[in-house]
């Protein structure tokens, strides 16, 4: 409670400072530290560079599951080079047929691995350039040679757009939503509408577009802009969408909402005639929870999560800058739409019967909200460097859930307390030697490897560095990173440079090696020895006389001397503690910087050395094999496993007799 209270105070102070600085015309503000470690003084952009302004109108036909869209896109060349083409992402075409890149990828082990029961598509009906008025649709290149994929379209422009110049496009299109798959689609009257409009690919500073087809494992990357979207659905439907509602009306049996939001790089919405609604202002943000009938308890859990997460993330990664946040809990039959992030709108999930001790609802809510920072505000290239979003966000989720729920942050049920981060630790070892973390989403061999490496191993690597060098330093490093690169689309080098500055060069080297070189580590205790000490034997000149002491006549010194040998296998060099345990129960801790491949730790004590443990507090969560982190000296009895035997006997007897007589 104390930590939550401090976090709340911290965030309130930070918010006050932001409001104070934001009244002027300056383009950046300084987020004041709420605690010295967690919220550093770093320049943080107040607004993003506005590259694309989408003014769109969307009309939903819930029976045909189509969306008719039209509007204008105003786009500015913010690069240093003239641009003679545009790239449009038409991602609903990923679900058009089995020839799309998405459908062709022979990848299992991750979400969206099933063929949709109803196909989806986006058909552009009109694409005109205004001023000069010119049709662009005729020249659009939907496909590449020998490739049927239609998610990545090239649009040649009739002239070069100079740096700093703007163009305006008129666009009209029709979406056929798929049966819910990979975060979007319909299920009955429920509609989750994501990746639904023709979207201009991200323009890089060098004048090239970061364009790519919709891959099975890939996510998104776009320029910031302003979205002004009017959503038109049948009366009785409840709408959730990116941004705040600026206008709402009922007209001709239709419900019409206008949503406007700047400083975002995507827009998603949902409509369902069965949504229940709860609203609450949390930490200055209007939070709306949309949920199916009977999920009131889950909605409360999600709002409760946001009461913790908004101030917690705000203190660590900078204030959440938008006035609204919508939490969408999809119906159980549309769970594939759950667990996804869009600007100011996240989808959660979890079956209605999920007990409170299983923190899935809380975990997924924290996770998707964390994306508001790493996907939403920092906005790194998720296709090229998915770990920069999912990995950092997984670390942030683990950190937040542990701060909130303690050691049972994942499961605290029936006496079993499993931590979120500990679960990631196990998963992170599964593919650590197979593939590197830092590569494009499409390069991973399987969805399982993608999940284990991008999410878990990145998070565990960061957690290990945090534990090895100090959690406060890692909090500070990520606080600097998320503030300094807000709206800036950082790369891995930006992250590593920040870690170098804030934690140190060795930490940065370990991070780089762990991300790019499949680096690993396995600490182990391999040998140890101790013996009763005796005074030295030999010839000694004392008081003018020479005295010879044979080894069997030496004096016992009432002391034991010895050593323990610990080794470091692998290429990560992390500082670690070693605990030496004497037969009288005395425990001594020694620090080892982990730079060498082995370390013979001297021992001296009043009792014999019985055992040694390297990393007794499990700081090196990324350790390849924690079961060789300890050993008992030869000749000494082991502790054994009496607790397992006792519990095993009780439960075996229970199983044998059945639960009932």
């Amino acid at each position: 409670m104390r930590a939550r209270f401090l976090a709340l105070i911290t965030a309130i102070l930070a918010a006050a400072c932001l409001r104070g600085d934001g009244t002027g015309a300056a383009s950046s503000v300084t987020a004041r530290a709420a605690t010295e470690d967690a919220a550093p003084d770093v320049s943080m952009a107040e607004h993003a560079q506005n590259v694309a302004t989408y003014t769109l109108r969307a009309r939903l036909d819930p029976n045909a599951h189509t969306v008719h869209g039209e509007g204008t896109i105003r786009w500015r060349n913010v690069s240093s080079k003239p641009v003679s083409e545009l790239w449009l992402h038409l991602y609903l075409n990923a679900f058009k047929n089995q020839s799309s890149v998405f459908m062709r990828a022979p990848i299992g082990g991750f979400r969206g691995s099933h063929i949709p029961t109803d196909w989806g598509s986006i058909d552009v009906k009109r694409l005109r350039l205004k001023e000069p008025d010119q049709d662009l649709l005729a020249k659009i290149e939907l496909k590449r040679p020998n490739d049927e994929d239609e998610t990545n379209a090239r649009v040649p422009l009739p002239f070069e757009v100079a740096p700093g110049a703007e163009i305006e496009l008129e666009v009209e299109w029709v979406d056929k939503l798929p049966a819910v798959v990979e975060r979007t689609g319909y299920d009955g009257t429920f509609h989750m509408v994501g990746q639904w409009f023709p979207k201009i690919a991200k323009l890089e500073p060098n004048g090239t577009f970061a364009h790519f087809p919709f891959h099975h494992l890939g996510e998104f990357y776009s320029d910031f802009g302003t979205y002004d979207v009017t959503i038109d659905v049948p009366a009785g439907y409840v709408v959730g969408a990116t941004g705040a509602a600026t206008e709402t009306k009922e007209e001709g049996g239709r419900h019409i909402e206008r949503r406007v939001q700047s400083d975002v790089h995507d827009f998603a919405w949902t409509a369902w005639d069965k949504f229940q609604i709860r609203k609450e202002t949390i930490h200055g943000v209007d939070v709306t929870a949309l949920f199916p009938p009977g999920y009131g308890d889950h909605a409360e859990r999600e709002l409760e999560t946001m009461r913790f997460a908004l101030p917690h993330f705000g203190a660590r990664y900078g204030k959440y800058p938008y006035p609204v946040l919508t939490l969408v809990h999809p119906p159980a039959t549309a769970s594939e739409a759950g667990g996804m992030e869009y600007p100011t709108l996240i989808t959660t999930g979890g079956p209605s019967w999920l007990p409170r001790g299983l923190h899935f609802v809380e975990g997924v809510t924290v996770h998707e909200f964390g994306h508001q920072y790493f996907y939403g505000l920092v906005a790194s290239n998720e296709d090229a460097w998915p770990f920069l979003d999912e990995g950092l966000n997984q670390y942030a989720e683990n950190e937040a859930m542990t701060a909130w729920k303690g050691p049972g942050s994942g499961i605290d049920f029936a006496g079993l307390r499993i931590g979120d981060v500990e679960a990631q630790g196990v998963r992170s070892r599964q593919f650590g030697h197979d593939e590197k973390i830092a590569k494009g989403a499409a390069e991973f061999a399987t969805g399982s490897a993608y999940g284990a490496l991008v999410y878990s191993r990145t998070a565990v690597l960061l957690e290990t560095i945090a534990r090895a060098y100090g959690k406060a330093k890692m909090d500070r490093a990520l606080g600097v990173y998320t503030r300094r690169f807000r709206f800036k689309h950082p790369t891995p080098n930006d992250l590593i440079a920040t870690v170098r500055d804030e934690i140190g060069p060795r930490a940065a080297e370990n991070l780089h090696a762990g991300l790019f070189e499949k680096a690993w580590v396995d600490y182990a205790v391999t040998q140890m020895s101790s013996h009763a000490s005796r005074a030295p034997a030999g010839m000694f000149d004392r008081d003018g006389k020479r005295e010879t002491i044979t080894p069997d006549k030496t004096t016992m010194l009432n002391r034991y001397d010895g050593w323990a040998l610990v080794v470091r296998r692998g290429t990560l060099r992390l500082p670690v503690e070693v605990e030496l345990v004497a037969t009288d129960g005395t425990r001594t801790r020694v620090k080892w910087d982990g730079e060498q491949e082995s370390y013979r730790i001297p021992y001296s004590g009043s009792a014999a050395l019985r055992a040694a443990i390297v990393d007794p507090d499990d700081h090196i969560l990324i350790d390849d094999d924690p079961t060789n982190n300890f050993a008992v000296a030869p000749g000494h009895p082991t502790e054994g496993a009496p607790r397992t035997l006792e519990r095993g006997m009780f439960w075996a007897a229970t199983l044998l007799g059945g639960l009932a007589p």
Binding site: G419, A423, R429, A611, L621, R643, A652, T654, G657
Partner: protein, 359 residues
């Protein structure tokens, strides 16, 4: 836990019977007469041998006879309950051996031993299970195999317990000789196994139907009332089928006690397996038609108490956590007391079932 040895004690014991158990029983404060179906063979053929062992298990003298309903009390067979507990203790030790050996091999050399498996967060526990390699499969299969073997052999123990409960010697109905009960248990092995398979299959069928029906209702209701409410409807429907399954289990126990009782009293001329099973089922169904409510009630409150005890045991384990030494020994005692009381409840229910089928 000492068995009453004199008439006064027995009178006192009988007077303490619960009203529910006594509702249909004749007062038993006087020694009842032996029933007509008592074996007519010499004592030796009835199993009154090995007097030391017999005495050790509370065996009396004289030829075993069927007890009157009012005489059938689990509390009068404390050593039989102890015998069941010892059986379960031995089985539990063997069943826990594979997982214990595995834990010891992996974590035994840690200075804190397997206490690390109980640390909050579960780092060692998850590491142990997730990085198990082939060990997990070997341990699970070995344990399952042992469970099957002990489950099969347990039929003899159940038969023996029922024989202890159903029969007695002398006018006071002292416990029959252990060898007699054990032989009866062994004789009832195959019929009890057959009953277990038949009723188990039927229970599985009912449960399967329940899963099928509840799932169908869930899906049918989802579009109208939403998945959350539909799930509750599913639980209600499934609960009804589970209730039927439990009632089938109660009827199975009525058949078991009939089979083991009859096997005990026809040791020299054992019925064929088919006939024993048929008689058991007929008796069980007849009894169920007459007194299913009483049988269900008698089983139900003991089941509830038994589950509560298991929960208490789990809670005690949670409280002790990874502590060793005296706390672990204390937990062992508490857990074994729970196992012992549950064995007593099992005996008490079987005695109840015997009274019902004997009336």
């Amino acid at each position: 836990m000492t068995e009453p040895r004199d008439e006064d004690a027995e009178t006192s014991s009988a007077a303490e019977e619960s009203a529910a158990e006594e509702s249909a029983a004749a007062p038993s404060d006087a020694a009842p007469p032996a029933r007509a179906i008592a074996p007519s063979e010499p004592a030796a053929s009835a199993g009154v041998l090995e007097p030391d062992f017999a005495r050790a298990l509370g065996g009396g003298s004289g030829p075993p006879r069927l007890l009157e309903p009012g005489e059938i009390r689990a509390r009068r067979r404390p050593r039989a309950v102890l015998f069941v507990w010892l059986w379960e203790l031995a089985c539990a030790l063997l069943l826990a051996t594979p997982v214990h050996a595995w834990a010891k091999a992996v974590w035994g050399a840690h200075p804190d031993g397997d206490a690390v498996l109980f640390r909050p967060g579960g780092h060692a526990l998850l590491t142990w299970l997730a990085d198990a390699g082939p060990a997990l499969g070997i341990v699970v299969r070995t344990t399952f195999l042992l469970l099957v073997v002990f489950g099969l052999l347990g039929q003899i123990v159940t038969g023996t317990l029922i024989a202890f409960l159903a029969t007695g010697t002398g006018p006071r109905g002292h416990a029959p000789p252990a060898t007699f009960a054990l032989r009866a248990g062994a004789a009832s092995f195959f019929p009890l196994l057959g009953i277990g398979i038949v009723f188990g299959a039927f229970e599985g069928f009912v449960l399967g139907m329940g899963l099928f029906a509840s799932s169908g209702i869930d899906h049918a209701l989802q579009p109208r009332i939403g998945d959350a409410q539909a799930f509750w409807a599913r639980l209600v429907v499934l609960g009804l089928f589970v209730l039927v399954t439990l009632l089938v289990g109660v009827v199975a126990d009525l058949a078991r006690v009939t089979i083991a009782r009859d096997a005990a009293m026809s040791e020299d001329r054992p019925a064929s397996m088919r006939r024993a099973m048929r008689d058991g089922v007929v008796s069980a169904v007849t009894t169920a038609r007459r007194a299913l409510g009483r049988a269900a009630l008698g089983w139900g409150w003991r089941a509830a108490l038994s589950i509560a005890l298991v929960y208490a045991g789990a809670l005690a384990g949670d409280i002790v956590g990874g502590r060793g030494g005296g706390a672990l020994w204390l937990l062992f005692v508490v857990h074994q007391l729970i196992v012992l009381v549950r064995a007593g409840l099992r005996a008490s229910w079987l005695a109840n079932a015997l009274r019902l089928v004997t009336r």
